[in-house]
Symmetry: C2
């Protein structure tokens, strides 16, 4: 039995993850204001934002599975989102090089048929390489870090700068596919039934 | 200074990795016969194949950086390549579920200008989820496992079945980008100079 799948996020990286994994997905951006959320606790913040996004879309669709996600990088118990300027992007890259952070993705799935809802946080350790100042300058000049939480991504120019991860790679890109499989199982849905 | 980059592999996943990371790449399949290589030792096998592929292309191009790669999954000291039939794919999936293997990618880079050559093996732990028999049957029916070493991939239908990894995710897809950065540094080339 196939189901309508709705991604409550405008992120092209999340959409690509779902498409590469064989799902047909509709995109509906939630318009949730991310700046309004308290980020004192990174886990609490990504959970709240994921749920707000999923809730906002779930009220507007029927017969759908709605997925809301939000990602932040936690470094030294500080939540790092998208940098607001090239200078801030460079500062984040310098603070991260040679160190390990935790990419946290809040993920909320709502079945609008049953009204059931599941929510969890995926956590993946990210080991940053030892970037030179010249590499940081070149990376910031690409413009990419301004578009991604923590000023890096696994599926772009910065991939060679991430020495390794411990955990799920899709979680780092913004939507954890193994977590989605477990969440769907909680909703009595087999992920293989959603393949196109 | 930009350089001509040649991928000695017909793998669309490796090409996509390089393109997503910002490189313009030419593809030249090497025609190396992978079945002729002794796979008693997985590390030795992927190294030999990566070097054979890079060597085969390096003799045919000028002014280029040639990248040769080969990937095998090591499970219990046994090398697992692409399955030869749906039945073998299913047997591999059943043997792997709930367990941890090591994806090994041999990677050889040759600078045809200087004649210098560097070669290394990237290793990433892969933790397989507990798949049901129904999930394995559905996955084999997609045809995907027949195209990939170890009967799984991170960038396709099987992504939700990989609970996590420890190491570099691009290495699992077939070409380690952080290893490439270090190999280029050994050849006195900055990876940021190769961005388009």
């Amino acid at each position: 039995m196939s189901r309508r799948l709705v991604l409550a996020s405008a992120s092209p990286a999340r959409l690509r993850l779902l498409q590469q994994a064989g799902f047909d997905v509709e995109v509906m951006a939630s318009g949730v204001d991310e700046d309004g959320v308290d980020t004192t606790d990174t886990r609490v913040a990504v959970t709240a934002l994921a749920e707000m996004k999923a809730d906002a879309i779930a009220t507007r669709v029927t017969d759908a599975l709605v997925i809301g996600c939000d990602s932040l990088l936690d470094l030294d118990d500080r939540a790092i989102g998208k940098p607001r300027s090239p200078a801030e992007a460079a500062a984040i890259c310098r603070a991260q090089r040679g160190r390990t952070g935790t990419l946290m993705t809040g993920q909320c799935v709502i079945d609008t048929v049953t009204g059931k809802r599941v929510s969890a946080v995926g956590e993946t350790l990210v080991r940053f390489g030892h970037l030179s100042d010249a590499e940081i300058d070149a990376y910031v000049a690409t413009g990419e870090p301004l578009e991604v939480a923590g000023s890096f991504t696994l599926d772009g120019f910065s991939a060679p700068f991430i020495e390794g991860i411990d955990g799920d790679p899709s979680n780092v890109i913004g939507l954890s596919l193994p977590l989605l499989r477990r969440q769907l199982a909680q909703l009595d849905i087999r992920i293989t039934d959603l393949w196109r």
